[in-house]
C-alpha cells in the first residue's frame, strides 16, 4: 500500500503527511514536483504549505507542475487524492474540485485547533468516521474561505459532497461553513484544516485526524 506525498518548493507539511501515512501502516512515497512519474503509488496526498510561494494565487502555479498532470490523470481514473490546506487550493485550481479559496473574511491568518463535523463518511478518506462525528484538528491558513457559485454550492449540498463543516464560529467566512468537499465519485477530497497534524495526542490536539489515513488504506484494501 503506497501513498505518495508531493513536495513542491514551499511545501511545509509533507513530512507530517508522510508520517500520517506511515501511522496508518501505508508506505509513504515522496513525490517531487518536477517529476511526472507517480512511482506506482495507490493514493496521493497534496500537502499544505506555500507552494511556489503562492506568489500569484494560492495553488495557481503548483497546479501546472509536471507531477500534477499525472495526479490529475490518476484522479480522473479513480485514484484517491487528498488535498490539505494549500493542497486543497491546488486541487481547486486544477479543477479536480469545484470552487476556490479566498482571503479569510477578517483578513487575519487563523491558527487554532478547530472542531469539524464529518458530514460525509462514504468518501475514500472518511469511512473510519461515524457520520456526524465531531473531530478536533489544527487549522492554520490565511486564505481558507471557501467560495463557489450558488449553483455549485447547491450541487455540493444536494449530492452530499460537503465532507467536513466547521463547528462553532466560522473561522474564515467559508460559504455554508464548508471546511472540506469531495469529487462526485468521493475519491478526491480537499479540506483546509490539517488532519495530518492530529494523529497522535503527543504532538497534536487529538488523534482524530488519523481516521482520514486509515480510511484510505481501508478503501485501497477493499478495492
Amino acid at each position: 500500500m503506497k501513498i505518495g506525498v508531493i513536495t513542491f518548493p514551499g511545501t511545509l507539511d509533507d513530512v507530517d503527511a508522510a508520517r500520517a501515512a506511515r501511522y496508518a501502516d501505508a508506505e509513504a512515497v515522496n513525490l517531487w514536483h518536477a517529476d511526472e512519474d507517480l512511482h506506482g503509488v495507490d493514493a496521493v496526498i497534496v500537502p499544505g504549505g506555500f507552494s511556489y510561494g503562492d506568489y500569484l494565487r494560492c495553488g495557481a502555479i503548483a497546479r501546472f507542475a509536471p507531477v500534477m498532470s499525472s495526479v490529475i490523470d490518476a484522479a480522473k481514473g479513480g485514484m484517491p487524492v487528498l488535498g490539505i490546506c494549500n493542497g486543497f487550493q491546488i486541487l481547486c485550481e486544477a479543477g479536480l474540485l469545484p470552487g476556490a479559496l479566498v482571503r479569510n473574511k477578517k483578513l487575519h491568518f487563523v491558527c487554532q485547533d478547530q472542531w469539524l463535523r464529518v458530514e460525509n463518511n462514504t468518501t475514500a478518506w472518511t469511512t473510519r468516521y461515524e457520520a456526524g462525528a465531531e473531530v478536533l484538528v489544527p487549522l492554520k491558513s490565511g486564505e481558507g474561505g471557501y467560495v463557489a457559485e450558488q449553483s455549485t454550492l447547491d450541487e455540493l449540498e444536494g449530492e452530499g459532497r460537503v465532507v467536513f463543516r466547521y463547528v462553532g464560529e466560522n473561522p474564515n467566512g467559508s460559504r455554508d461553513d464548508i471546511a472540506g468537499i469531495c469529487s462526485a465519485n468521493g475519491r478526491v477530497v480537499g479540506l483546509m484544516p490539517h488532519p495530518e497534524h492530529a494523529i497522535d495526542a503527543l504532538t497534536g490536539p487529538s488523534d482524530d485526524g488519523l481516521g482520514v489515513f486509515l480510511s484510505v488504506v481501508d478503501s485501497l484494501v477493499s478495492a
Binding site: 500569484l56 494565487r57 495557481a60 501546472f64 481547486c92 485550481e93 469545484p98 470552487g99 476556490a100 479566498v102 482571503r103 479569510n104 473574511k105 477578517k106 483578513l107 474561505g145 467560495v147 463557489a148 457559485e149 467566512g173
Partner: protein, 78 residues
C-alpha cells in the same frame, strides 16, 4: 514588441476583505465620501508580435485570473 495590460478583479459577488479593510481605514484617516473599495491585480506584459489575442486570453483566463472568483480584461497599449 507590445505592452499588454491584464487587469484582474474579484467578481462583484465575491467578498473582498482587502478592499473592505481599505474602505474601513479611509474614514479613520480623515477621507470621507468613499463608499466602496475593491482591490485587484494589474499585470504588465511585454510580448513580441507572435503573441496573438487568443494566446493572451488563454494566459489571462488560464493562469493570471481564476475565473471562479475573478474577472479579467486584456488591453494592448501599443
Amino acid at each position: 514588441m507590445a505592452r499588454v495590460v491584464v487587469d484582474v478583479m474579484p467578481k462583484p459577488e465575491i467578498l473582498d476583505p482587502q478592499g473592505q479593510a481599505v474602505a474601513g481605514a479611509l474614514p479613520r484617516l480623515g477621507f470621507t465620501g468613499v463608499t466602496s473599495v475593491r482591490q485587484g491585480k494589474h499585470f504588465e506584459l511585454e510580448v513580441d508580435d507572435s503573441v496573438d489575442d487568443e494566446t493572451l486570453a488563454k494566459i489571462a483566463e488560464g493562469f493570471l485570473a481564476n475565473p471562479v472568483i475573478e474577472e479579467w480584461t486584456v488591453r494592448r497599449l501599443s
